[in-house]
């Protein structure tokens, strides 16, 4: 509560407030081999928005420890955040980031700009998780609607952030997913097309990376798919993702490696 010595230097930032009042609640860097890992988030822009998807697997060493984990989150009304890496830290980082955005909006009466939010996420990583980043502890990817178009922002191991053009992937299956995205992504896709490309990329990543899961029809576990456009963010209901994933898998019965690209 405010008194005569009321400190308001960092009053718009929830993370700064937490560092002053309850530092023990901040996410901490941990060695990356002691706790379960979540993997492979894929993102792609489309005409009028941006889509993000993540598989549901968490692994520890060579074991699968969870098959329904969620790694793609709605950050606020117009943006999404996905985090690959140490699951416990990633979830805490996302929770902190969500409150950070909401806190700013409530205190200042307006939401942060897209670039302001992207910058803030980099700041949170630098401040709290620098050690973990070196061992690939957590790597987020941020995406959203900036008022004019869908945007993707990637982060590196020191919290630096970069605007990505059309698509991006992060996590252990990312190299395979990125190869798939490279061949399938087109800028004139619509939301459903972008979601299809993302699911194809996750299936391709699951083919080659043991830490990434494909759609699990037996348990009814499908990737999390979210989109952000001018009307806001939307998490696709399970039924919609199930229908999409079924079509992707059905088409692969004829060609297990997925759709082919023209040679020239």
């Amino acid at each position: 509560m405010p008194g005569p010595g009321w400190d308001w230097a960092g009053r718009s930032s929830f993370a700064d407030l937490l560092a002053r009042t309850a530092p023990e609640a901040l996410p901490r860097a941990v060695p990356s081999d002691v706790a379960p890992h979540g993997t492979t988030i894929v993102v792609a822009t489309y005409a009028g928005g941006v889509a993000m998807a993540g598989d549901r697997r968490a692994t520890w060493s060579s074991q699968i420890v969870q098959n329904d984990i969620e790694k793609v989150f709605i950050a606020d009304d117009f943006s999404l955040v996905g985090v690959a890496g140490t699951a416990g830290v990633a979830v805490e980082l996302v929770r902190l980031f969500q409150v950070e955005l909401e806190h700013y909006e409530k205190v200042e009466g307006v939401a942060l700009s897209f670039d302001g939010k992207a910058n803030r996420l980099g700041g949170l990583i630098r401040a709290n998780l620098e050690g973990a980043m070196r061992g690939l502890g957590v790597l987020p990817v941020y995406a959203g609607w900036d008022g004019a178009r869908g945007r993707i922002v990637s982060y590196d191991v020191v919290g630096g952030h970069y605007s990505e053009r059309d698509y991006y992937a992060v996590g252990s299956g990312a190299p395979f997913a990125r190869g798939s995205l490279k061949k399938l992504h087109r800028p004139d896709l619509d939301a459903a097309g972008a979601a299809t490309v993302l699911v194809q990329a996750l299936v391709d990543a699951a083919d080659d990376d043991s830490a990434t899961a494909g759609p699990d029809a037996v348990r009814g576990l499908y990737p999390i798919v979210c989109t952000a456009d001018s009307s806001g963010v939307r998490r696709w209901p399970d039924a919609e993702v199930e229908a999409l994933a079924s079509r992707v898998l059905e088409a692969r019965r004829g060609r297990p490696d997925g759709p082919g690209a023209p040679l020239l």
Partner: protein
């Protein structure tokens, strides 16, 4: 050398109360009232950006009258307390009662011992799943708390506004009726027509986690017509 005069505590408190009341009476009034889907905040406010009404947490809203700098720092302190509690415990553990307690403590302590009391009056309101569990708390400049059953009026003409609202209050009114009644009571008490209104609601029917919605000028005009 000047001699310090003895001032009896009764007189001291009365002077402070008069001082705070005078400060509060200078501002325009604010009404917080229940309606069918939650709680509605209506304030006469010439500014579109310097708000008297704001969101504290998912189901909790804040309204204030008096000195802007004072209620603004109280508002931010409330948001900070709510966000820290929601983050370190759970979102469901943030309640209006805790916030009201903190406000009452700090305002009571300032009234009794600081250089001058807060010249503000606050409302903290909360919507629940069922209308019967909605709460409207009014906190006075001296830290006293009132659990208002159906509505709260604050500011210069609070008594006149409250008297007029009490005559035809209906907790099951539609949003449009509630805003019309509140606007009518405010206009009648202040004698000024056409003062811009700031209107916000805590709407329990919203599917989103955050129930606080600030209404746009267009929407307010639509509700009043």
């Amino acid at each position: 050398m000047t001699m310090p005069f003895y001032v009896p505590p009764e007189q001291l408190m009365k002077d402070r109360a008069d001082f705070a009341r005078k400060g509060i009476a200078r501002g325009r009034s604010v009404v917080v009232l229940r309606y069918a889907d939650g709680v509605c905040f209506v304030a006469e406010n010439a500014s579109a950006t310097l708000h008297k009404v704001s969101e504290l947490y998912d189901r909790i809203g804040f309204a204030a009258v008096g000195r802007f700098n004072e209620f603004e720092s109280l508002r931010i302190a409330g948001i900070q307390q709510a966000d820290v509690r929601g983050f370190t415990y759970d979102r469901a553990d943030v309640t209006a009662r805790t916030l009201v307690n903190s406000y009452a403590q700090v305002m009571g302590a300032v009234f009794a011992s600081a250089d001058k009391p807060f010249e503000v009056e606050l409302v903290v309101a909360e919507v629940a799943g069922a209308a019967d569990d909605d709460r409207i708390y009014r906190i006075s400049y001296d830290g006293s708390v009132f659990d208002e059953r159906s509505f709260a009026a604050m500011g210069g003409k609070a008594d006149a506004v409250a008297a007029r609202l009490a005559s035809d209050f209906d907790p099951a009114a539609s949003l449009s009726d509630a805003v019309k009644r509140a606007a009518g009571a405010l206009a009648a008490a202040s004698g000024a027509d056409g003062v811009p209104l700031e209107v916000a609601v805590l709407d329990r029917t919203r599917r989103a986690r955050r129930t606080f919605v600030r209404l746009t000028g267009e929407r307010i005009a639509e509700l009043l017509s």
